[in-house]
Amino acid sequence: MLIFEQSSKGRRAHAQSPAAMASLDDLPADMLRKAPPLMPEVSEMQAVRHYTRLSQKNFSIDTHFYPLGSCTMKYNPRACNSLSMLPGLVDRHPYAPDSHSQGFLSCMHDLQEILKEVTGMKAVSLSPMAGAQGEFAGVAMIKAYHDARNDTARNEIIVPDAAHGTNPASAVMCGYKIKEIPTRDDGDIDVNALKQVLGPQTAGIMLTNPSTVGVFERRIQEIAALVHDAGGLLYYDGANLNAILGKVRPGDMGFDVIHMNLHKTFSTPHGGGGPGAGPVGVSERLEPFLPIPMVDYDGTQYRFVTADDRPQSIGRLSAFAGNAGILLRAYIYARLLGREGMTRVAEYSTLNANYMLKKMKAAGFEAAYPERRATHEFIITLRKEARDLGVNAMDFAKRLLDYGVHAPTTYFPLLVPECFLIEPTETESIDSLDNFIEAMIQIREEARNEADRVKGAPYTLPVRRLDDVKAARELDIAWKPTE
């Protein structure tokens, strides 16, 4: 039942608003609302009960194993939440002067330094509010760099066909055309194809490493040299940073600009879809173009860097300082982990993924790249099962929900048919991993004996499969009262 359907006229949470309605006699009558908006009219306890019960319908990291490839669903430490919401931090106004913001600014500055160090870049801006905004900022900086050198013939960005959709979308938002290159069967990009498309029109290339197919791009140094020789720049999509944190640095691989997804690698909360945070790091030549604001330290005082300090900046992407509260959570996480802890992230996420890959292969599942090491994630293709048993990846995913596991990422990347992209993360114990594999084996068995059972899953959740076609054809996206 919707909250609206539990309303009763005149009911409200009396403790939560001022005792009386203050006068609005200084405002012209024709500017005022004639009728109140249609909002719920419930008591405080009704609201609490309603939303508590809704929360209980969700899968979450706190309740379920959630091996979503490319999403890095690791444990969100509670301390990161409570310490970022301390008084002084949680109620600091974004425009409070630097003199009264040394606590907050020192955290931001420290985070900039930590991110620089762990990625091997020269400078960092924390302001992009999500990975996609970080990507936009990165591509905008590449454009600003070429424009500043009057190198305006460069109008193409190269993107592998396995890239995440935000990559080409971000490039187009910056006015670029997209040139796609294929990925080979062994998972690396096709360097010959790359050579064909490089030229004076190349502004840059956007890569993820490890790539979206879950393997390390082995010829990355060669690729970097080729692109740089053609006058282009390299952009690193940090979605898979968890696989190499503390083990390999994008700066060392030759990347000129990177974005990080703090809601993946630095364990800030996924919150049902956000907020994220997408700081960008750059090499020296892109430093002048970083988005503002950033934080500087002169040895005694911390301060916000402004547009005046950075005349070539691509500008600001948000009204204030980005998702500050999320940045605080990432900082706290970084302090809890420390340098050793960060290296362990890559080591144990990779250990978990390789263990699962080995066991799944042994159980007869088909790996998409059987000759390669898993990084922190790997791909299983269920095309055999789909062909022989009529049960596809979506069916397996839905049945896994009945086994108390959130399904892995399905149908991404697009170039592997019927795929599962599986990323356990380093915070899962061996029991979680074994349970998952056992569930997959059982579901396959069910698919052999009783395919319809799998195809009709899930059965044990608040709803069964939903009619997406009806949802799109008969658009119902806001409640309206029936009378």
């Binding site: 309603h50 996924h270 049902g272």
Partner: protein, 453 residues
């Protein structure tokens, strides 16, 4: 090792299963020269107790201020239940609801949010949020250009009285796509967008007009006149509004003859703490006619196999993961956690509660302005009705006042000099319903003393 559960024995067992001698072997595909470096610049890890100590110390440094700054972020009362529920693990650590059956909590909540937001704005539809108000404006401009089939100019009229950071952020987002943002001045006496200046563009091909309510100065614009101008000139309208103010002011869906096409803004006043400017959330509402051009996630109600009502992400074909380079936007995340809090907040406050909070805030601010303007030399800059904030003029330099009062932990307002030098020495001051009377008295007293000397 924090958060890593493996015992040594388990590690050995796993390596045996894999057939590797050490964890390092698992990285053997990576060129050796890429793997040698030190991370000395990163401090060693600390136990939670010590990190807590560190954070308490830093938080203390920024505490105990009397803040009279608004300028797009407002310190309103948030019921205690809001964040207790929003930070429940099932909401806090849930992912984007791609597997709808396992996310009905989040999905239903977002549907309720969409319903409340459209009601508050008086519009047909809403999305499930964007990053913040400023980027929402950028997205609204891109949407107007896509949706306006007749206009080719890509010219957008943007009032100078709109938040400077919003204008800058919108510019950063649209500047590489051949879109022109044309600034419309405000009248010096009233602080309102100049209808005269607007009339210069009558008959021209203008794709959209942006209207703020209240505008950055707190001034209430003649929204009907502005909307009608756009209607007469075949321009789309984009409203940028304070959502709490819409609980008492005429909402954008009712402006002009037909209401606006797109309404957007910053959702922070609806249950989100100040937290240094983020995370907040941008909201966007539109008319039914152009719903398919709306960026961001949208939740729809449908039925399941048994005919039971349920909720899922819909209209996904427009989004980046399917359309890729042809997407309506590159946007991927929304601000899920913030919207969760805002929805709980709106449910708990209801229309009456929100109206009382808005009115209470406006009232406290009137008390502040009345106290300040009674001081010799201090004036109210604009002769116009305002909501929640006022521009006061000073007889001395802004910096003098701000520094002197900050020494007593009074943050006296937003310094307008940088963005609006034409206003002379002027501060944008705000006071919400949460401000104590003692704080207001302190501000008035300190300023009075300073100016008397």
């Amino acid at each position: 090792m924090p958060f890593i559960p493996h015992t040594e024995e388990e590690v050995r067992h796993m390596l045996d299963t894999i057939g590797a001698n050490s964890i390092d072997d698992l990285f053997d595909e990576i060129p050796a020269d890429l793997r040698s470096f030190s991370l000395d610049g990163i401090p060693e890890g600390l136990p939670e107790m010590e990190v807590a100590h560190l954070m308490h110390e830093r938080a203390r440094k920024d505490s105990n201020v009397h803040c009279f700054i608004g300028a797009g972020a407002y310190d309103h009362h948030i019921p205690a239940a809001v964040w207790e529920i929003a930070t429940r693990g099932e909401f806090y650590s849930a992912y984007t609801p791609y597997q709808a059956e396992a996310s009905q909590g989040t999905l239903q909540l977002l549907y309720e949010y969409q319903s409340m937001m459209s009601a508050l704005m008086g519009m047909d539809v809403s999305n499930a949020s964007l990053y913040d108000g400023a980027s929402a404006l950028g997205e609204a401009i891109l949407m107007a250009i896509r949706a306006h089939r007749k206009s080719k100019s890509k010219k957008i009229l943007v009032p100078k009285s709109l938040h400077p950071a919003y204008r800058q952020a919108a510019n950063a987002i649209v500047k590489n796509q051949d879109i022109e943002l044309i600034e419309i001045p405000f009248e010096n006496a009233t602080g309102k967008t100049s209808l005269d200046a607007l009339s210069e563009y009558a008959g021209a091909d203008i794709t959209a007009l942006v209207i703020g309510q209240p505008n950055f100065f707190g001034v209430l614009e003649d929204v009907d006149a502005l909307t009608r101008w756009a209607e007469e000139n075949n321009a789309m309208t984009i409203a940028v509004v304070n959502p709490l103010a819409m609980s008492i002011l005429k909402p954008p869906g009712q402006w002009g003859e037909n209401g606006v096409d797109i309404a957007c803004g910053e959702g922070q006043p609806l249950g989100i703490p100040l937290s240094s400017g983020g995370p907040y959330f941008g909201f966007m509402c539109a008319t039914q006619k152009i719903v398919r051009q709306m960026p961001g996630r949208i939740i729809g109600r449908t039925v399941d196999l048994d005919g039971k009502p349920g909720f899922s992400l819909t209209l996904q074909a427009r989004e980046q993961h399917i359309r890729r380079s042809k997407a309506t936007s590159n946007i991927c995340t929304n601000q899920g956690l913030m919207v969760t809090a805002a929805t709980i907040h709106m449910s708990m406050m209801g229309a009456e509660g929100l109206a009382r909070a808005a009115a209470g805030s406006h009232d406290k601010h009137r008390k502040l302005v009345s106290g300040l303007s009674a001081i010799k030399g201090v004036g109210v800059k604009f002769d116009s009705p305002v909501f929640n904030e006022t521009v006061i003029s000073l007889p001395v330099e802004n910096a003098t006042v701000l520094e002197a009062l900050a020494a007593d932990n009074v943050l006296a307002g937003f310094d307008l000099k940088k963005d609006y030098p034409e206003l002379g020495n002027a501060l944008l001051v705000c006071s919400t319903e949460k401000q104590g009377d003692a704080s207001i008295d302190l501000f008035v007293e300190k300023l009075g003393t300073l100016l008397a000397s």
